[in-house]
Symmetry: C2
Subunit: 393 residues, 2 copies
């Protein structure tokens, strides 16, 4: 969540005619959580847009770069330098930083070809997100993307609107798939959640059934994701996925006290206490999200069977501020505002879809920022970044 | 211009690294006509948007449908029913009607496969326009597009931002290319035009040098267009192009008195007479457009050499109102408003870029509508629609 919470509503799929989609038949749009269809980053490039608040993507890429570069090189050599490489960034959202990974991939390929004295391939860069994503803003940055590329083959950019829980590309067409902070978003809010609880996500006090409901939905969604990609990718193609996960602990319900969703729940609770919004309204707002453990991810990849795990790393996770930032109180306040802006860009559309004019978004995120700064001294975090690289068998 | 005047500024190309683009080196952005970079249809879906004013595309497609269907069928059988078909709509603009041609193509392919007892292919639908185009509005209509498709293979949609005077797709990847009312737009305003003349385009009183300047630019641009597509298309791939042309007459300068650009020039002239805008400002506004004769188009295709002409038809051209519409005066007024809305959606961004707040767009197009209705009795039109189908050798 350093960066790009992404939208995964499968009902916006482009591919409504495919057999694959039929297997998602049980994922009927739940009118109960209709706000999920608004799961999309704030568009444009204003103060509260995702584009403005996603500079943190740079930090994520600096951590995952090594894995991405390694996999790109191995893909190229194992496939004996194809003449055209098709790359997909899934759940790309909007803004100029979505080209960071594509630049890295393009420049790695060009450097490798020079090193091996091979003709550089043409590169087909496909940027995917839901149809409600702000592609217009993204396309404005194509010129600067091209400037960042070293000299090589032609590079083509396209936007592919649709859910990555459905087919997005023709069979056996993709060589490399990349996705950052997207696939922790579920296709829908799980069924059977506790109705009375005023919490947008699992907390340490949630019943065991809640964990099972979320895990079950993640299992379905992630398996679908792998199956769709297995159809689209060439043999020996690579996939590098970065998602928010949690540390492996005995209690699968345990989340630290300053978990971002816990703080959002508490900020909404404040509004209930102030009589601004009803408890019922707040308790029916749930995040379509799951932060799996490393073992849960590994297990699902093995069961699905199309991919070999090349590598799985666990990195620290924060919202753009390091632990050191909290040493001074002023830094705590700043970090609070940063995290609030980030969570706002990710959730604003859903909040508005659910609460309408009942709540003032500025007020809510001022409360959120305050809560972050109140947790300045917390050191134990349950959230991690999982970086997994896969090889299509 | 029934429908989709399209933007063709090659400097917005995605493919700035390719060798092809280098050949466009003489097309340096002219600061003299900097408004050309704003050549893009009005976005969104408001009253004056292109999306709202492009229902006329339906009429165009009803005329060109037969040619499109024939070429789609012949492409499929000649290529022995490929497993995946990649189709491009070049200069698609925004709005739901841009899916009309794609639906026609998809349904033709599915019906043909059923007839021949073949498995329907996957179809990769690529919608191209300049990066400044409103792709967001277009992507909203994907669901209804899918509903229009008959049962067949999966159909994938992508947006490809870039100028069609540069490379947009990997080599030998396209099977079918379609473009309606786009390639009459030039990559820039020709050099060496008469500066003192208050006319946005060639008129019967233009000097011969003006015709030569426009023709020369069209020759360069159309040849580049053919060369780029020849690299992207598979052998025996098909291309169906519809563009505004002119009847073959002895005098290449002759345009009828109610030619749409003549009426725009006259409407701007009205504003000069009213002291609203200066004559100098108006005389520096020129359209990056050329309406070739059938012979000019044929000649360039033969000279470029990559394509065989399958068929070239000439159809009547109007802006969504038939000659019969003029029989009643009230119809004349309505037709005037229709044509004004259409020309406004196409030119508004450029007019604003050039004139800024100097002119009121509503006022200008009220004058335009009035002028159309004043020409209600005119019967001789020089403009035609040229429909040409090509086979990649």
């Amino acid at each position: 969540m350093d960066s790009r919470f992404i939208n995964t509503n499968p009902y916006s799929s482009c591919d409504c005619k495919s057999d694959n989609e039929k297997s998602n038949g049980d994922d009927k749009r739940s009118s109960e959580y209709s706000f999920v269809s608004a799961l999309s980053m704030s568009g444009g490039d204003g103060d509260n847009s995702y584009s403005t608040n996603s500079l943190l993507q740079k930090r994520v890429l600096s951590r995952t770069k090594r894995v991405l570069v390694e996999n790109t090189k191995e893909m190229m050599t194992n496939l004996d330098f194809p003449r055209c490489i098709k790359v997909a960034d899934l759940g790309c959202s909007s803004g100029q930083n979505i080209f960071l990974a594509m630049s890295e991939i393009g420049n790695t390929i060009n450097a490798l070809c020079e090193e091996w004295n091979k003709n550089p391939p043409e590169i087909d860069c496909c940027l995917n997100d839901l149809p409600s994503n702000d592609f217009n803003t993204t396309f404005k940055f194509i010129t600067s993307f091209n400037k960042k590329l070293t000299r090589g083959g032609s590079c083509f950019v396209s936007g592919v609107p649709g859910s990555f829980y459905s087919r997005l590309f023709p069979r056996k067409s993709l060589h490399l798939v990349h996705s950052v902070y997207s696939i922790h978003f579920l296709s829908k809010v799980p069924e059977g959640l506790e109705k009375s609880k005023m919490s947008v996500y699992i907390t340490s006090s949630s019943p065991q059934s809640e964990y099972k409901a979320y895990l079950n939905q993640f299992q379905k969604d992630f398996t679908t994701f792998l199956r769709m990609r297995s159809e689209e990718m060439v043999s020996n193609g690579r996939m590098v996925l970065t998602l928010i996960g949690r540390k492996t602990l005995d209690d699968p319900l345990y989340r630290d006290c300053c978990h971002f969703w816990t703080l959002l729940s508490e900020s909404l609770h404040d509004l209930v206490l102030e009589g601004i919004v009803s408890a019922t309204k707040v308790s029916s707002f749930k995040m379509p999200f799951y932060d799996p453990s490393k073992e849960e991810v590994t297990d699902l990849i093995r069961k699905e069977g199309s991919f070999k795990i090349n590598n799985l790393e666990t990195h620290g996770f924060d919202l753009g501020h390091s632990v050191e930032d909290f040493s001074l109180q002023s830094h705590g306040v700043k970090a609070g505002q940063k995290e609030a802006s980030c969570i706002r860009a990710v959730t604003e559309r859903m909040l508005v879809a659910h609460f309408g004019d009942d709540i003032n978004i500025d007020t809510l995120f001022n409360k959120y920022a305050l809560r972050v700064s109140q947790h300045a001294s917390c050191r134990t975090k349950t959230s991690v970044s999982l970086v997994v690289s896969l090889i299509r068998k």
